[in-house]
């Protein structure tokens, strides 16, 4: 249920973070989604170290160049929301909305309406800055993706979170395979031809400020800090987002190489 702030506009808690590890951020988000009854906006201005984050049913063997991941010792996290795989680092800006199902007027708690609502919000953010669109489920400038989305919808609440590529390291992209499921507009492009950097369009602080301003058109924002949330936390809650163990990755690597062997054998017959 929306808790009214200004007349007709529900209240939303704004949490501004910087350099928080992505696993910690996801644990926080999952806890707030499942145990809180408030609306939340979480902005994490970059995470502390490069991490691979897969969607809820992501399979490492299919999505990652595991040998490279193990070699570079990049942590791999499986998050609680759907969607694809991203490699996040200090150049990634995260914006998350966690809302009660009737918090936003006219937005039904289902994937497409929420996605469209977010697209309209970011349209305001990028007005006059670039050729911004919500394209299938991605945020793009022109036909190049700079923001990826994922959602989770529960009985009474929903979360919509985005990782924005403000900047990225080219060599890190080598850890990700070309996914089997891609949006149509991607065509046959590899990672580097498909994505673009938000830093070519606007400074970080401007982006964050404009996002907060756009959010204010829907909610009455109230700043909260992390300590305040964590002290009142429900300690019984156990998040499903987790770090994959080395053993799991090594098993996946073995499986991947076995598949390659049997595939090449079948071709040689």
């Amino acid at each position: 249920m929306g808790i009214p702030g200004k007349i007709g506009v529900p209240m939303m808690n704004l949490v501004r973070l910087k350099g928080v590890p992505i696993l910690q951020q996801l644990h926080l988000e999952e806890r707030l989604l499942r145990t809180s009854s408030h609306n939340w906006c979480i902005i994490n201005d970059g995470t502390n170290q490069p991490t691979i984050v897969m969607g809820v049913s992501g399979k490492p063997a299919e999505l990652l160049e595991i040998e490279s991941v193990l070699c570079d010792q990049i942590p791999v996290v499986r998050r609680f929301t759907g969607g694809g795989t991203v490699l996040v680092d200090p150049g990634t800006i995260f914006v998350t909305f966690i809302c009660n199902k009737d918090a936003v007027a006219g937005v039904q708690p289902y994937p497409q309406p929420i996605m469209s609502w977010s697209g309209a919000l970011y349209n305001k953010v990028f007005q006059g800055i670039g050729d911004f669109h919500l394209r299938e489920n991605d945020y793009v400038f022109g036909d190049r993706k700079f923001g990826g989305n994922a959602q989770s919808i529960t009985k009474n609440r929903w979360i919509h979170h985005t990782s924005f590529l403000w900047d990225y390291e080219v060599r890190n992209m080598a850890n990700l395979k070309l996914p089997a499921r891609v949006p149509e507009y991607r065509l046959a492009r590899g990672h580097l031809e498909f994505i673009c950097r938000m830093k070519d369009y606007l400074p970080r602080s401007v982006f964050i400020d404009r996002t907060i301003e756009a959010t204010k058109t829907h909610f009455s924002l109230r700043s909260t800090d992390l300590e305040a949330i964590e002290t009142s936390a429900n300690t019984k809650f156990c998040p499903s987002t987790r770090l994959l163990t080395m053993q799991e990755l090594e098993t996946a690597a073995k499986f991947a190489s076995q598949s390659k062997v049997s595939l090449s054998q079948s071709f040689s017959l």
Binding site: F80, G84, D102, Q108, Y110, P113, M115, N137, K155
Partner: protein, 504 residues
């Protein structure tokens, strides 16, 4: 009206005999405690699902613009409710089941979350619309579930009111629509654990057969119609199982299905509306016909004297020593069509309206429209220009059999260059067919009818006349081309010896 594309006649059933088809993809009790990472994908569904769904089964009316994470269920009959995966968003046709929050035997409340699914970017909790006990879970984590397929079965304690979801509510605000479930006896067959379709259950009931006693020969031990009839025959309930099967199949092929009579007084007739969501071939037909309707068609009608064709067929039949081969008119019509196409290749082409290009196809892949129980399908015979009439006969028979069994391969359906619609097999003088895009012409042939004709000196003689209607894309073909092509084809049919003249 496009006779050759008419929607197949829906079966009239009473509500009491309506059952959902059980999901054929699982036959084990899943472990709902498995996380998605742990669950095996051994029950991952594959291939086309549309051939399995019985399109006659009514669904609850759900406005397409309203999405529900509540699993909207079928009308509860005698306590068992089939709970389908409801539509979770526009364009979302299927979801991956991630985890169950309940297991078989659990008591669940209305609006209690029962499972979590993933579609594209979102994980979605599905809540139960009903209060009751989980009877059977039909999918395991990792499975792909199509929207509308039954997720689980719930035993409801009492007849619960069916809710009709309206256009702009939140999930908790729904309009109510009272539908009284029809009186029916809950038999053992209704709540047994065997896999079978509603049609098979009714057939079993008709013959007094307990499905638990029947050995299923279908996939995963599914009980088929043949299994029930065979069992009933052995029991002595019926005289000839193959006769019942053949007549049932024939009725299916022609488009009407009356599986069981309604003895008066036993099963009350229902005049309620039934909503049938279109799936598989029917769904494809919606899309292809909508696109075809945008193309400027013109139709050319002619009559062809089939006396020679009738004689030819008799000759083939009388000299036929192969019991597997049955000669009909169609293969000769197909071969002569190919001969005419050689002279008028523009009739065997595809039009690309963006590039304004016509591709004259080298192969004559002649599609034959077939009415199956799942809808209209057009498999094609490849390279007719290189096939003999006998080879065409065999290939046609192969495709017809596959179509009836709903086992056509994608390669059989793709790559057609022209379509022949033999609506005359069912009846009618001729049809006004719509193009099978991206082809530029389609031919509908009516029934060969014996009609009186006049000689020049006024005497009457009988002639076997077949009316044809050629539908053509007027962006590519003009009347003169089509008329000349038809004349050429007509010549080969009326004088089949000309085929020998061009034989290579």
């Amino acid at each position: 009206m496009m006779i050759s594309r008419r929607i197949l006649i829906l079966q009239k059933r009473s509500f009491s005999s309506v059952r959902r088809i059980l999901c054929p993809y699982t036959s084990q009790t899943p472990n709902p405690n498995l996380s998605p990472a742990q669950a095996s994908a051994s029950f991952r569904s594959a291939g086309s699902h549309s051939s399995i769904l019985h399109f006659n089964v009514p669904y609850i009316a759900v406005n397409r613009s309203f999405f529900s994470s509540h699993a909207v269920a079928d009308l509860p009959v005698g306590g068992i409710v089939d709970v389908p995966l409801a539509q979770t968003g526009e364009g979302i046709a299927e979801c991956e089941l991630l985890k169950w929050f309940v297991q078989e035997g659990d008591q669940i409340e209305e609006f209690q979350p029962i499972c979590e699914v993933q579609s594209d970017k979102a994980t979605i909790e599905i809540t139960s619309r009903y209060k009751g006990k989980v009877a059977q879970i039909l999918y395991v984590p990792g499975d792909i579930v199509k929207v509308g397929e039954t997720l689980l079965k719930i035993v409801v304690e009492e007849a619960q009111v069916l809710t009709h979801v309206s256009e702009n509510p939140t999930p908790t605000q729904e309009g109510l629509k009272n539908i009284k479930p029809c009186d029916s006896e809950l038999t053992k067959n209704d709540i047994c654990e065997v896999l079978s379709t509603p049609a098979v259950r009714n057939l079993a009931k008709q013959h007094g057969v307990d499905l638990n006693d029947v050995k299923g020969t279908g996939k995963d031990g599914r009980i088929l119609k043949e299994d029930v009839l065979q069992y009933a025959f052995q029991k002595g309930s019926i005289k000839d199982p193959s006769a019942s099967l053949t007549s049932a199949s024939r009725r299916q092929f022609l488009g009407g299905e009356e599986d069981h009579p309604h003895p008066s007084g036993e099963v009350p007739w229902s005049y309620e509306d039934k909503t049938v969501p279109l799936r598989g071939f029917q769904r494809t037909m919606v899309k292809s016909m909508s696109m075809a309707a945008k193309v400027p068609h013109f139709h050319y009608v002619d009559e062809i004297n089939c006396d020679a064709l009738v004689e030819l067929k008799s000759s083939f039949q009388s000299t036929n020593s192969d019991p597997d081969v049955k000669h009909t008119f169609l293969p000769t019509l197909i071969k002569s069509l190919s001969m005419a196409l050689s002279k008028y290749p523009l009739m065997n082409s595809c039009f690309n309206d963006e590039l304004l290009e016509v591709i004259l196809k080298g192969s004559h892949n002649i599609g034959i429209a077939m009415a199956t129980s799942s809808g209209l399908v057009v498999p094609n015979i490849k390279n007719v220009q290189s096939l003999s009439i006998l080879e065409i006969t065999k290939e046609l028979s192969r495709l017809q059999k596959l179509a009836l069994d709903n086992k056509l391969n994608p390669v059989d359906i793709c790559g057609g260059t022209i379509t022949l619609s033999n609506i005359g097999a069912i009846g009618g003088k001729f049809g006004s067919p719509l193009l099978n895009l991206p082809e530029v012409s389609i031919i509908a042939i009516g029934r060969i009818q014996k009609v009186p004709q006049f000689t020049d000196d006024g005497n009457i003689y009988p002639a076997s006349i077949m009316t044809v209607n050629i539908g053509a894309d007027h962006r590519v073909l003009d009347g003169a081309t089509v008329a000349r092509f038809c004349g050429e084809w007509k010549q080969f049919i009326e004088k089949p010896e000309l085929l020998m003249l061009h034989m290579k």
